[in-house]
Each structure stands twice: as structure tokens, then as C-alpha cells.
Amino acid sequence: MKKQLYERPLIQRINTGLMNKFGTKTEYAPTSHIDGFAVKDLIKEFGSPVFVLSEQTIRNTYREAVRAFKTRYPRVQFAWSYKTNYINAVCNIFHQEGSWAEVVSGFEYQKAINNGVPGHNIIFNGPDKTDEDLRAAITNNSPIHIDHLDELYRLTELAEEMNKRPNVAIRVNMDTGIYPMWDRFGFNYENGQAWDAINKIMLGERLELIGVHCHIGTFMLSPQAYATAAFKLSDLALGIKKKYNKTLQYIDMGGGFASKNTLKGSYLPGTDTVPTIDQFAEAITTAILNAGFIEKDLPLLILETGRALIDEAGYLLGSVIANKRLSDGRRASIMDFGVNILFTAFWYDHKISPAQEFSSYTEDTVMYGPLCMNIDVVRSNVTLPPLKKDDHVVVHTVGAYNMTQWMQFIAMRPSVVLLGIDGKAHLIRSKEGLENIEMNEVMPEFLKNHQLSVANAK
């Protein structure tokens, strides 16, 4: 007689008032393949855990976003937000698609230069730009987005010193009806700070004002807030035209569009509630088109969308290290990945699917990472079929921020693999080893030896 497929014996209390299992199968339907690549083959080749990015999804998502804006507005330019994912291979996919670079530090700026992005296509944002950074940006004609008055004055000094005319825009913060209001970056619209800064630039005559910029928040779920922001930036641009007869080159709406992740505490899943890129595009372009520009003065619309362009292309593949039963009877699975590499687990309930077929029996499980820290929780409650040690899982929608905010803590950072449209799996960042971590360490002479090592040598 052929033996039956084994499944761990399960018993659970029938709880009323909790999620019933009927019809919820999609939540834990297995993901055995990504873009035609078997999860188990990828883990075999590149180890577990491993980050996987789909080139096809990146390009499709990007083209979809471009289409959404270009069909509504004549002049649109995307600038890839480096901080979202600055693995060079990823950046270059976006540059191949025609995207500029948007950077927020000297390190990111250098990365964009090394990736071959022309200086005038690198937008330099952020509150922390050193003199060295500013000099490089001035020399390369990069648009510098001024965050505060100290920077404005310093830029003016550098312009004189270098006898150059830097291209600048100002970062504007404003009330768009959403909370929290990001008023720590840039100059405020409502209280007139933004106009003061504009007047200083225009009357100072050392800086070339080419645009206005805002970035109203992150993981925004309201297209209306963008309409408000676009209207206020347009109002500034039109005011500059009126007062100084100067036509600005661009309006930069920043980023912040939500991806299809589910924020912790939200009742409905993100896949159902997050606005589409078309809704954001409609809100922004309508506001600018209706603001009162004459056609030849319509500014270039720049978008620094990061998360919404890359999140869904990213997956984290991992494995079960162990299962255990907690004191209150709940099941817990310990995974080989935790918040050290899946930083976004702090604010999303990531969708996690098993990578192999299961029956329809499930158990509520707490999913822990491997760190010896209590905060290392990947999902505090997830309904999954009974996973065995060494079974694989797929964490969905992890492409944004994880590969830049991950930390080397206790464990090493894993490999990143790009599933190419050429049908091949390309290693684009190999997993770290001891040598990467110790590379920058320096051992003073007097600490090189100790008794234990001497005893060991004998």
C-alpha cells in the first residue's frame, strides 16, 4: 500500500467571533514559483534566506506608472529614489527605462555618478549635504533642493567662491489635510517661509531657481492630498512668474505613493484599498492643469516615486528553523530571517505564503525571526498550514527599503538575486561574510594576543 502524505496532527478550539476558514484559502495559497523560477531551486542555489527581485515586475510597474502620468500630462519625468533600493543593478533598470536619479546624501550622489547618470539628471535632496557634496553638485549642474536657510546661505557663499550659478529648487512643506504633517523638511507654504526663501533666491541673484519641490509624506493613501499639494506648488510657480516674470522649469511632487502592502492595524488588506497609480496621477495632473499655467509655461512634472515602483517586485524567500508551542498554547515558527533584514515587518503585516502544497488545515502561528531579541517578530499572528522544519516560505512585497535599511546584526545580510527577463537568475549582491564585516576593523598591536590564544597555540 502506498503511504499517505504526512501532515502534522492539529487540534484547535472552535472559536466563535474569529476568522473562520471558509473561503480564506487565498491568504495561504502556496507560492511555489516566482516568474517561472522554483522557490526551492532558488534557495538551493543562493541559500536561505535570499531576496529575489523580478525584473519583469519592475519594468512593468514602471511603464504602467509612466503611462498613467503621460496620458494625462504632456511633460513627465521620473527620478529613481535611491534610498528605496540602491543596489546598482536595480538603479540601472530604472535608468534604462529613462528614469533620472534622486539622492539624499553624498554617498547616494556618488553612487548615481558611478552608475553613469549625468549630473544634471541627479536631483540632490535632503537636509544633510556637506560642502564637498554641494561643490560636486554645483560642478555637475545637478539640481539642488534646498531644505533650510542655512543651506541657502551656504550655497550662496559657495556660488560666489566657485563663481558658478547653482541650479536650485526649494523644498516646500504644507498642510494637505493629512496627519502627520511633514513640516520638518523644507520651508512652510502657509506661514510664508516658502515665499521668503524664494524672494531671497530671486533677489540674491547668485542662485538659479529652476523648480519647486515637495514630499508630503510616506505610504500616502489619499490622492486628494496630492491634489492639494500640486495646487499649492503650482500657486508658488505662478506667483514667481507674476512677481519676477520667471518661468520655472519643473514642479517636483516627490514620492510617497503607497504600495500594496497592508499597514499594521488596518482592517482591509492593502491590495484592496491602496489607490492605483492612475488615481494619484489623476489628482496631481488635474490640479496642475487647472492651476492657470499658459500652455507653453506648463512645468515639467517630476516624480520621485520609490516604494510604489519596487515594493511588489521584491520577495524574501526563507525557511523554517524550528517550531515550538508557546506557554499559552499558540504555535510559533522560528524563521531564518527576522527584522534584521526585513525591517518593514515593523509596520506591515507582510503577506507570507508557504512555498509548497498543503491541505486546507491551518493553524494560527506567531512567526519569529532568528535573533535572540524579543522584538524580532515577523508576523504576530498569521494563518498558515502546518510548516515543518526546513519548509520554505515566501514573503511578498518587500522590494522597498529592506535592501537599504537592513542591518548586519548577529547574522549576515543575504544574497540578492534578480530574476531576469532573459530567463536567468542573476546574483546582484552576494551575501556578506565575516570578511566584509571585519574589513574595516583595526586591531591595535597591544590587543593582538591574549592568554587564551597562546594556550591554544601550544
Binding site: 503511504k3 499517505q4 487540534i11 484547535q12 478550539r13 472552535i14 517550531n323 498554547g329
Partner: protein
């Protein structure tokens, strides 16, 4: 391990404890184990049966049966509380 005598086991995987009014659901393999215990089979008998019927190994059965028995105990489905 002694399962409470009056526990009702249904083929649908529905388990009812008439003394407490609690109800539970089990998967087919879990149901077969509960039935075995109810019929007075020993832990060793059950392990042997599972090993012969399922595609798995002794170590897995050992681990999972231990976990399952702990759960049964925790859910107050046993005659008396056996402390391990």
C-alpha cells in the same frame, strides 16, 4: 494517555467535550490519533501505525505526537492532567 471517555469524535473532525461544552476541530491524522487513544492504544502503537501509514520519519512523528499530546492535555481532553 487517557482521553476523556465522554468526548464525542465526529468523522468531520469535530470534537465535543460534553462536560465543558467546548468544541474543537482536528485534521484527519489528529482525529485518527484521538480515536486510537480512545480505543486504549498506547503511544508506541500509535507511533508504529503512523510510521507505517505515512510518508515521514520516526523523529518527525516523535516530535509532532509529543506536541499534539501536549495540546490535548492543555485543552483538557485527557482523563487527568499528566505532568510530563
Amino acid at each position: 494517555m487517557k482521553i476523556l471517555k465522554n468526548i464525542a469524535l465526529s468523522d468531520t473532525g469535530f470534537v465535543f467535550n460534553p462536560s465543558t461544552g467546548d468544541s474543537f476541530s482536528v485534521n484527519p491524522i489528529g482525529l485518527s490519533i484521538l480515536k486510537d487513544f480512545k480505543d486504549g492504544k498506547s503511544e508506541a502503537d500509535i507511533k508504529k501505525r503512523l510510521l507505517s501509514e505515512y510518508q515521514t520519519d520516526r523523529e518527525t512523528i516523535e516530535k509532532d505526537l509529543y506536541d499534539f499530546m501536549k495540546m490535548i492535555e492543555q485543552l483538557h481532553l485527557t482523563e487527568y492532567h499528566e505532568q510530563a
